[in-house]
Amino acid sequence: MRKKINQQKLIKDIANESYFQTVLRRFCHHHLAVVSLMILILLGGAALLAPVIAPYSPDEIVGPFSGAPSKEFWLGTDQIGRDVFSRILYAMRISLLVGIMATLISTVVGVVLGLIAGYFGGIADMAIMRFTDMVMSFPYILLVLVAAAIFKPGLWNIILILGFVDWPGIARLVRGNVLNLRETNFVKGNIVAGMPLRHILFSEILPNTVAPILVYATSVLALSMLDEAALSFLGQGVQPPTASLGNMLNGAQSLTVLTKQPWLWIPPGLLIIVLVMAINFIGDALRDALDPNSNR
């Protein structure tokens, strides 16, 4: 009897919960994603608080050359005597900043272009989608390398380059959704209600496609962090002395470092893997949690 009442209460709770609560409840079903989120918050927090946590200044020479990990230097020192642990904290800052900013830019560009292409159709759609195809069909890494060569490698240039290369996927996604939504009765109803176009596009259609955008954005975030690492590894990304996870791996290009000094490349490499995996797990869980058709 007691159990039945509890169950009824539970059902009632579920029926009354807000959309946000539903999403949260479904998200928590994915244990891996919850763990990933905690890791991401921990690492993000460490990156944010780098100036407080880091024992040394990241760019200053504070110890012996290529010193192995010790009590004094937890992850050892690099070839010119900088503290690897401090550098990693600052590098994470840069890598996350690049990832988040590039994702923001590409999302905004993709959403705006996708909305315009999907809603207005016709020539606008044609022009935007062919441009999208063009960007997509270009060898990606080559484009980035050429752009990096033209615009001089540097933090903000990397962010801009990655931001303007990652948007086609989002633009296509949004366009597809808008094509669908444009024909629904509630959009027609809004036209009938005499709502201005701006309202229909941004307050009616956009909120309906936020969930897939959010999910896609997580994979763009992971990808652009990887791209930054790849670019920096190739020397076209964030320039030293500024540390990024990618250019810290740069050292591993030398065979001595690769074989004799693993503390120089294992921690940043590991961090890249952990960050990217955590973000991908979270994206996966978000996909399930935000899906309005899921009945869990």
Partner: protein
């Protein structure tokens, strides 16, 4: 006297992969203030396209190529989108067929109702809230406050249609177009919704165009009825006239298909043989001729509107000859 809505020679064409298709062909009708007008016809005869043409909602591929739609003395077809936006939702509004997709799934009911109230009536948030609650009570929603906080997916089809009606009424429209408002609903709910629409129409004195394929619904509600077939208005009459003395063979056939409670137990349901012609642009004569049991050679001539009494017109030369001796 000028009419509230006057449609003259409205012709709508859809351009598809297989060329042009005239979906609505030179239709004329009008609606007076406080009047309920029904447009009846089977699927695909152009009822919905007529309403979408009036509202300017045809979308891709569809275009009005001829005719005029005067609302309150102004031609809707020659207005810019901006001017239309001022009229749509304010004086002229519409309810759609499918209430299940007519509400935005990511917003609460309350937000969606208050939005258009705010846009057109320039009320503050609180006043708009109060008005939304009043409207929901008016359409017979129990617990209006609670419903306003709910998302559309927790409401049933009938409740959603009530919300849609509340939204349509939010700015005291002069004319409401209801495009098959009950098609997606259960029979019992259908009756409730129709009753509600009738009650609200009488209370507010607004005009209404009711579009339906269910001729049974028409009897209680309408003042005048238009019968559409294959893109044309083939008969126009007051409700009593239409049910007492239907003229056009199609109208008669349509009325015969309705089962009544007084039917003999053995009576088989009647259907109209044949199908609506898929493309009717090149049929010069009567478009119903191929399915008509009264068919004569004259039927292949272009048909005009013939008078059969006060406000009663039909496009059938055979009946004109039979009933009035050809004069």
């Amino acid at each position: 006297m000028s009419h509230l809505l006057e449609v003259k020679g409205l012709t709508t064409v859809f351009t598809g992969d297989y060329g042009k298709n005239i979906t609505v062909d030179h239709i004329d009708f009008h609606v007076d203030e406080g009047e309920v007008v029904c447009i009846v016809g089977e699927s695909g005869c152009g009822k919905s396209v007529t309403s979408l043409s009036i509202m300017g909602l045809l979308g891709k591929g569809g275009a009005v190529i001829d005719g005029s739609v005067f609302f309150d003395g102004r031609n809707l077809l020659s207005m810019s989108e901006k001017e239309l936006d001022k009229i749509r939702g304010d004086q002229l509004t519409m309810i759609f067929q499918d209430p299940l997709t007519s509400l935005n799934p990511v917003f609460t009911v309350g937000k969606q109702i208050t939005e258009s109230i705010k846009a057109h009536m320039h009320l503050s948030g609180k006043e708009a809230d109060a008005r939304a609650k009043m409207l929901l009570e008016k359409v017979g929603m129990p617990d209006a406050r609670g419903v306003m906080k709910k998302y559309p997916h927790v409401l049933s089809g009938g409740m959603r249609q009530r919300v849609m009606i509340a939204m349509a009424l939010s700015c005291n429209p002069k004319l409401l177009i209801a495009d098959e408002p009950t098609t997606a609903l259960d029979v019992t709910i259908q009756a409730q919704i129709m009753e509600l629409l009738g009650k609200l129409q009488r209370e507010t004195g607004m005009s209404m165009i009711l579009i339906t394929h269910d001729i049974g619904l028409v009897a209680n509600m309408a003042d005048r009825v238009f019968v559409m077939y294959a893109g044309q208005m083939i008969e126009e009459a007051s409700v009593e006239e239409l049910f007492e003395r239907p003229v056009h063979p199609y109208t008669r056939a349509l009325l015969d298909t309705v089962p009544t409670i007084r039917d003999d137990a053995g009576r088989r349901l009647v259907s109209i043989p044949g199908i609506v012609p898929e493309s009717y642009d090149n049929i010069k004569g009567c478009r119903f001729a191929d399915r008509c049991k009264y068919r004569r050679p004259e039927c292949d001539m272009p048909q005009e509107d013939y008078e059969f009494g006060e406000g009663h017109r039909a496009k059938c030369i055979v009946m004109k000859e039979e009933l009035t001796g050809g004069n």
